[in-house]
């Protein structure tokens, strides 16, 4: 090789190194989810905004114990001062009518991502997703609404594993999720769209993992509103009262199947009701007579 060629090659290599230094680390498949995100409710709007009907357990892989918890739940329970400001569990929080903000925490020296932080407008709930390989806390550590989360990249998907969750709900109609549950979230960014597939694993109340997806759109103009919450006594009731329906005495349970023409048996949920072939079985089930709608004279 001639001297001139060697000089050209060396010059080219130096130029490449210079470019690499300018452009930072080599490009990765990872899609940084940081940014301001606005929710889209095209999926499950009725559950996520107005909220689910009492006794609607369709498509949820619950067991008999969860069913009785749901049947016993009285909506006035959330009026109690100690329940008014309770945040959603992080496995449910993605589903709420919440704007989402995600930012990363970077180690100054190594420029490695230590953690991603999320903030949801509902309740101002925040979650930290540790990316530095730290272990989860011991069994005797406290549980929180957000739980303790670690993350790792699988291709361009950020996979989050969460333990140490406080008890919360699967749905806002009293279906419970226990404090022994764990959760995962697969956070997928496609340009200006973000999809979060959240899965709950509950050995207490679920017979199979329960997965839900939520979508967000990038919105750099988004300004996050604060969520101040202060508990007050809304209803004067004796201390220690816990509103609940006694077994077999919740008269609201038939409203959902009657109003929507769905067989009551199907509304009881269970893993079977998650799968498409259940629709065939439903056709053999009896429905309740639909209530006569009252016509206003005004």
């Amino acid at each position: 090789m001639g001297k001139v060629n060697r000089v050209k090659i060396a010059g080219g290599l130096i130029a490449l190194l210079f470019l690499a230094a300018l452009t930072g680390r080599p490009a990765r498949a990872q899609q940084d989810p940081s940014g301001e995100w606005s929710p889209r409710f095209d999926e499950d709007w009725e559950e996520r905004i107005p909220g689910p009907e009492i006794g609607d357990y369709l498509g949820i892989p619950i067991n008999e114990a969860a069913r009785l918890r749901g049947d016993s739940w009285d909506a006035t329970l959330v009026e109690l001062p100690e329940n008014q400001c309770r945040a959603h569990g992080s496995d449910y929080g993605w589903r709420g009518p919440s704007n989402l903000s995600i930012w990363k925490e970077v180690d100054k020296a190594s420029q490695k991502v230590i953690a991603y932080h999320t903030h949801l407008s509902a309740y101002g709930a925040e979650q930290t997703i540790w990316m530095d390989g730290r272990p989860h806390p011991p069994d005797y550590a406290p549980h929180t609404w957000a739980g303790f989360s670690t993350g790792k990249w699988e291709g361009d998907i950020l996979v989050v594993t969460t333990t140490h969750l406080k008890e919360n709900w699967l749905r806002r109609n009293g279906l419970p999720r226990s404090d022994l549950a764990t959760a995962s979230a697969h956070i997928m960014r496609h340009g200006n769209y973000l999809t979060v597939a959240a899965t709950t694993y509950d050995p207490v109340y679920l017979t199979e993992p329960f997965m839900r997806t939520s979508d967000f759109v990038y919105n750099p103009q988004q300004a996050m509103a604060p969520w101040p919450c202060e508990s007050v006594d809304e209803v004067d009731r004796p201390a220690g009262v816990v509103p609940a329906h006694l077994p077999g005495q919740n008269t609201f349970l038939n409203e959902f199947p009657a109003n929507y023409g769905i067989p009551p048996e199907a509304t009881r949920g269970g893993a079977e009701t998650m799968y498409p072939e259940y629709q065939i079985k439903m056709k053999t089930m009896k429905t309740l007579p639909r209530p006569v709608k009252k016509v206003s004279n005004r």
């Binding site: 008999e64 114990a65 008014q84 101002g124 404090d179 764990t182 694993y201 919450c229 201390a239 816990v242």
Partner: protein, 343 residues
């Protein structure tokens, strides 16, 4: 993903094991909600246990693994313990405390009589001392300061010292050295007020809830546990309504931070560190079950009919046990008997 679910199941089993281990050495100092003797708990050498310290907040730490949870408060004045764990674990408990403080143990507060909370009284008290002088030393002699002060509700001493034939129920060296008969007792130690509250007839008749006012930590004893249904020791004066009153008292004392989370921290008798939101879930569970069984009692149902109706079935996968020291059947029976009219 399924591995995670399995891990959670395993975790649940571990909690059960911890509960059983904690109660393994109670031998004669625990329940009998039912006429039938409780099933034998698995025996394990207490010297084999691992103890762990976990910082709570302020001056307070939680020590787990020695039977019931032990609360450790440290500061310039010395060391104060809430409960002393199982007999035989004291060397490990003391070694763990020494990693926090070189000061002497001055106080042990017993939350109730059971041996998984008082078994270490003798050994740990002997390793400490009492600040004594004046008339106390004059009357008793130098031995007045030879061991830590062990404080409990009067009922704990009454039951420990009650003779069974010629022997007291518990050897004298494990007895409380100071008791109180009032609804509350107060102490100022390590720069904070320590409030002892005595709920009437709850887990037993000699329960004490301890509130560290500056650290903002409450030690509940076995009125609140995360490992199972509350053990209502009817034979030692326990009652389900007292348990609920105690839980309501803990909620009343606590102030949560944002989102009803954190703020006052709660050290349960067994299980993980909690805050008031965890106590609220537990109080709701116990109250709902009380209300169901009360309804059945009001309808004149027998105990067997109540058990057959499974009034706890929605909480059993989380808190219930079919075998072991404190089963779901025993809990239902204790609630039923607490609520039934006295004959």
């Amino acid at each position: 993903m399924r591995a995670l679910a399995k891990q959670a199941f395993e975790s649940s089993k571990n909690l059960g094991l911890i509960m059983m281990l904690a109660t393994a050495a109670l031998a004669g100092t625990v329940p009998s909600a039912s006429a039938q003797a409780p099933a034998a708990a698995p025996q394990r050498n207490p010297a084999d246990v691992e103890v762990h310290l976990f910082p709570v907040q302020g001056n307070v730490y939680m020590l787990v693994g020695a039977g019931g949870n032990i609360t450790v408060q440290i500061g310039d004045d010395g060391v104060l313990l809430v409960d002393a764990g199982l007999a035989g674990t004291s060397d490990k408990v003391y070694a763990a405390i020494r990693t926090l403080s070189t000061k002497p143990i001055h106080y042990i507060i017993d939350t109730h009589i059971h041996a998984d909370h008082t078994g270490g009284n003798e050994a740990l008290a002997k390793l400490g001392n009492t600040i004594a002088g004046g008339n106390v030393v004059g009357d008793i002699g130098a031995s007045a300061g030879n061991q830590a002060t062990v404080i409990a509700a009067q009922e704990v001493l009454d039951r420990m010292s009650a003779t069974n034939g010629t022997q007291p129920a518990v050897p004298q060296a494990s007895w409380p050295t100071e008791t109180y008969t009032t609804p509350e007792r107060k102490l100022y130690f390590n720069g904070e007020g320590v409030l002892m509250i005595h709920p009437q007839a709850a887990h037993t008749d000699g329960d004490t809830i301890v509130f560290f006012r500056r650290s903002d930590v409450i030690s509940t004893g076995d009125i609140f546990v995360t490992t199972g249904y509350p053990l209502v020791d009817l034979a030692r004066g326990g009652n389900i309504q007292g348990v609920i009153n105690g839980l309501n008292e803990i909620i009343e004392l606590s102030i949560p931070a944002d989102e009803q989370e954190g703020g006052t921290m709660i050290i349960p008798g067994h299980g993980r560190l909690c805050d008031v939101a965890d106590v609220v879930f537990y109080q709701e569970m116990v109250t709902i079950i009380r209300d169901r069984i009360q309804d059945m009692v009001n309808k004149g149902m027998t105990l067997e009919q109540v058990k057959a109706a499974k009034p706890t079935s929605d909480y059993d996968p989380r808190y219930g046990r079919d075998t072991g020291f404190w089963t779901t059947d025993m809990f239902v029976e204790a609630v039923y008997k607490s609520l039934s009219p006295k004959k």
